[in-house]
Point group: C3
Chain length 470, copies 3
């Protein structure tokens, strides 16, 4: 019977001499603590430390990496994940759907991560299939009732040192504060300031988000200046709870300041529900500029990931909500869009801009050249759609030539699936070891330098990039 | 003397362990029947079953893959292919030109295909060169007079099960019907509905094409609604003759419905020869939307390949006609251009959209993410300019992560050169075996799964993708 | 103690069988003379033959490949290179800065080139580091006082046969003429005509550049026709001094002729300092068309490299001048922008257009298809940001399929750093040997053909491409 036992040499180069080098480089970082400076696990998961409800909730529900593949094969989303507002699906039935379609995931990173979780985290030795679905479900389900599989125990077992979350500016960060105050919890869970919802005044939900921001900050946001002041205040609050960075997702990277009077005019119109789409774009690009300006002032690391068309399929958005697998990458530019901001703030010491892309053509053409020159610019790890062994190799081969290793961010897992954290970090460590090994094998890097870099990539680099104290 | 004998391990990875795996995976599919769901061999070739006129007609004339390389090296097209309306070139002279310039093709897929044809199809053991030109010509020429080298005999020897052609909506499909009715012909030759000529009313030839469509369908096309009705009628006719898919080539993928009154207005203006270029674009994008709508209704698989600037060099078009080697790829988007159509029809069960690109940046950025989510979207095989071992590997490495294998189309040969069909399918099978072997060697796929996928890629997948009965 | 001794197998594939082939292919070209048809070493360096002032001047100052990496790491440019108009930095201090940050260059081509220069050119066996900075400095500095390390001696030792420079149309080419007339100098130093400064009449410096052109040519340039006549005259002068090619760098490749009256109107406005930015663009695109027209007339090879945003960071431009590491690549098109010019001149025998890109997506999508069809079009070697072993491999894998080897330019080093010339050519020869070896190992090319190609790539091809007599 096929098993999920993962091969110790997985992802290493097939050439024996290069593989030997990769093995050695990997061995030195395999068990290093995990620094996860960008992700979507909620802090409450660890604060509450409740058992996971079921294998399905843990491994399928809400993980659009998994559900989109099923959807793409013609399986309605509602089979594995209830529409918004409807009762949850039967977890065992949803699990059976995944198991029966396991072949769809062959050779994908999703299969790799899930097999890692089943095999390495839960010790399941049976391979998932329609036939074994129930047995595997039961085996995981039983483990989940064990104290050792509660979030905090797993956090510790995974060796997570730092876990950053993603949070609305109006969030009270109660869970973060509780964890920080809890002497029984040794890890660090840091908030990340994400103000996307207040950027586009022509988008639904803008006014509500602005109202929440005003309430949270105690600063009226009915003026443009008020909004900026409230954002500054909440950034300070995030920092007071340990936050070191912000995260911003926008359709494009244009950061163009408006004349304050024009910004105020649009803000005012938006408050009356009258901002046009064009005004929304202009305002959003102004706010992006202002966020960069704030980062150049307060030193919060600014993560920026433009170029995603959110919610491409309106009917799915209406029925299932956002983050359900139909966000789509777009061609993405950085060099022109960020020029003004980089001219104004790009060589100062406070600004740190970590640029992520879902359009890999930007790697060698824009991101590496920008990071190569501007001290403020770092190239974010290959993420979303590119968080795979092959794309990680393409990333390194496109970036190192112009920007080396020191201007790359270190790995981020960007995951909503808690147990995929070690799977994803392990994949990245193997991918980097393989890349470094290929450089050693072709005599472009000494083995000693490669060993040093492999260690830095999981230690100094992510902490320094995200200004997380060590 | 150098020979054309091809190495049995050609295209397999050089790493010995990986090569062994590739060999085994390939062995299981090497002799599998050929399903060719997209190509440009005319049905009449098989219906008439006349001998090929000469080695030149068979291997050079009309194959822009071959003639463009010669042209690019400064050899006038007219040396190897007569201008439109002029008497044919001397075939032996043209052959000598190719032979004398054989070095231009070193390491190109064209050389690979031609050497396959000479060596594997015609048993030529002498390598082509200026010195051997006449001897090789004579050897092939003699074979062509043999019954065993007539089209039907070759069709059978190549193991072709299904061959799809490309046909104008007004075509009477007489050759297809004759073949289907002929008990002595066991293969299947299926028409493909290609309505490009009636899409842009500002283009020369639109009115003539619409007139032919009206005549063929018996439906007056002097109105926009008439044109749509005629297209629907001809699609039904194509299906009645076994057609399962349509093919559409457009400069861009924008599919935007017009208000019917506006479409009717442009249609009317075009009938008086007064459609502007801008109206031509708007109308063409409307028709693309309507074709998707029809496909969502009648279930014909819709192949779409946008992004080619046809006939880049006007003087060559004037002298030699279309398809003479100067069609050029353009940057190509899919995510925004197809959004409305995918919102309207993309999750239904009838629509199947096979998207091809000549801009490989779309692989990981647009095609894999779209196919990963939308059940209707499949990623077409790497074709035209990308139908090569290296590009096939880049395709798989860019696509598999987000869309697996099940949402890829299976290989299409897209060829006008009849004897290149087995050469091209063999290349694709070797390329896929090599890719799969690399996944096995790096422990990302079990050998059993790889073997299953290799077989599916040449059996279930092309038939299912193109809805061809097995 | 680590040394800079380079491994004899560096850059060769790690697979032993493939490496053996690469070794053999490389051995045949390792010591071939260097043809450098595009670079930025001034002719006066060789005409004057003065000793290099210091290791810093030789290896750091003015080499933006080196200084940008330091700047990107937060080290002010002024630490290693004085601002314009200020006294030079202390060379030993600047050297120490480089040495102390040597780790930033790990695995980059810059480290490779510098280690080649230190080890192979200067025989330094100590590896650079903060600790060894002074010792290495002293060792190189001492060598520089030796006759054997003067420019001409190095030129000879490097085996340079042809070195092309880059020169303003108004340059009197005195140094070139002196070298040509000097019986003691056996090499050839050829001027390259670069008229960028007179293309955009809205740019600062246009009028001064036009005035210099008028003075040099003796043709008044206060009219558009005068400017064109002056350019033609200076091209003839460059040819008379051995120049065979021109070089043009523009933000985009659009070449669109203006109505001469409109061009004259803009020219006239520009003379009064009143050309708008839009007029500047239209005029620049007209001049690009006229330069292609001239090349189609006088047969000077036209090098074109569009797609760079020059001087992205205005404060650095103001303080340090141009070419200081903040030129940034942009998305770049060729197929549409050059269509009209290629329709008008692209199939003639006089025009030769060598197209370079900093956007590697153009390789397979635009450059290889254009070069595959148009006899006038050649694909320039991967340069700037792409002049690295990995990018060279991507280039070959993207280009060969559609354009073979014969339509590629041969390597160009494009360097300002004199001693990096052999380092860069050696890197390219190893990269090509490795690529060819991989084709041989996968049976896509015979070993005999590979050997022939390897030799052609460093002999016939660069001379023929750039029309340099042999």
């Amino acid at each position: 019977m096929p098993t999920t036992k993962m091969h110790p040499d997985r992802l290493f180069p097939s050439d024996p001499a290069t593989r030997d080098i990769a093995r050695e480089l990997y061995a030195a970082v395999a068990d290093a603590p995990i620094c996860s400076p960008h992700g979507h696990v909620p802090a409450s998961l660890l604060a509450d430390n409740e058992p996971f409800a079921s294998p399905t909730e843990l491994l399928i529900t809400g993980d659009h990496y998994v559900t989109r593949v099923l959807h793409g094969a013609g399986i309605p989303l509602s089979t594995v994940q209830a529409p918004a507002g409807e009762p949850a699906v039967d977890p065992r039935e949803a699990w059976r759907v995944l198991a029966a379609h396991w072949h769809l995931f062959r050779a994908t990173p999703v299969q790799y991560w899930l097999e890692y979780q089943l095999g390495e985290v839960f010790g399941v030795t049976t391979r998932l299939s329609a036939e074994t679905a129930d047995a595997v479900y039961d085996e995981v389900d039983e483990k989940l009732r064990d104290e050792a599989f509660r979030p905090r125990a797993l956090f510790e077992r995974f060796g997570v040192d730092v876990l950053a979350t993603t949070d609305d500016p109006a969030d009270d960060l109660a869970a973060h504060r509780a964890l920080a105050a809890d002497p029984s919890f040794a890890g660090r869970v840091l908030p990340t300031f994400r103000a996307d919802r207040v950027m586009d005044p022509s988008a639904p939900g803008w006014l509500a988000a602005v109202d929440r921001l005003a309430a949270a900050s105690g600063i009226p946001c009915d003026t443009y200046e008020g909004l900026l002041a409230a954002l500054r205040a909440r950034r300070a609050f995030f920092r007071s709870v340990g936050g070191t960075s912000s995260d911003t997702g926008v359709p494009d990277a244009w950061a163009i300041p408006l004349d304050p009077a024009e910004a105020a005019r649009i803000h005012h119109a938006a408050f009356r529900g009258r901002a046009t789409a064009a005004e929304g774009v202009a305002y959003r690009r102004d706010i992006l500029y202002r966020l960069i300006e704030m980062a150049a002032d307060d030193g919060m690391v600014m993560q920026l990931h433009p170029g995603v068309h959110r919610n491409h399929h309106a009917p799915t958005l209406a029925r299932h909500g956002a983050d359900t697998g139909h966000d789509m990458p777009l061609p993405t530019g950085f060099t022109e869009p960020l020029r003004q901001a980089l001219n104004d703030f790009g060589t100062g010491t406070a600004l740190r801009l970590v640029l992520f892309t879902v359009d890999e053509t930007a790697f060698s053409r824009e991101l590496a050249p920008l990071a190569g020159f501007y001290p403020s610019v770092y190239v974010g790890a290959p993420w979303w759609f590119l968080d795979t062994p092959d794309a990680m190799e393409r990333y390194r081969r496109a970036i190192t030539d112009s920007a080396g290793f020191a201007k790359t961010s270190g790995f981020i897992d960007d995951t909503r699936a808690f147990c995929s954290i070690p799977a994803r970090h392990d994949m990245a460590r193997r991918a980097d070891a393989s890349y470094l090994a290929s450089l050693v094998a072709t005599h472009r890097l000494t083995e000693a330098d490669a060993a040093e870099i492999a260690v830095e990539l999981v230690s100094r680099i992510p902490y320094d990039t995200f200004r997380i104290p060590r």
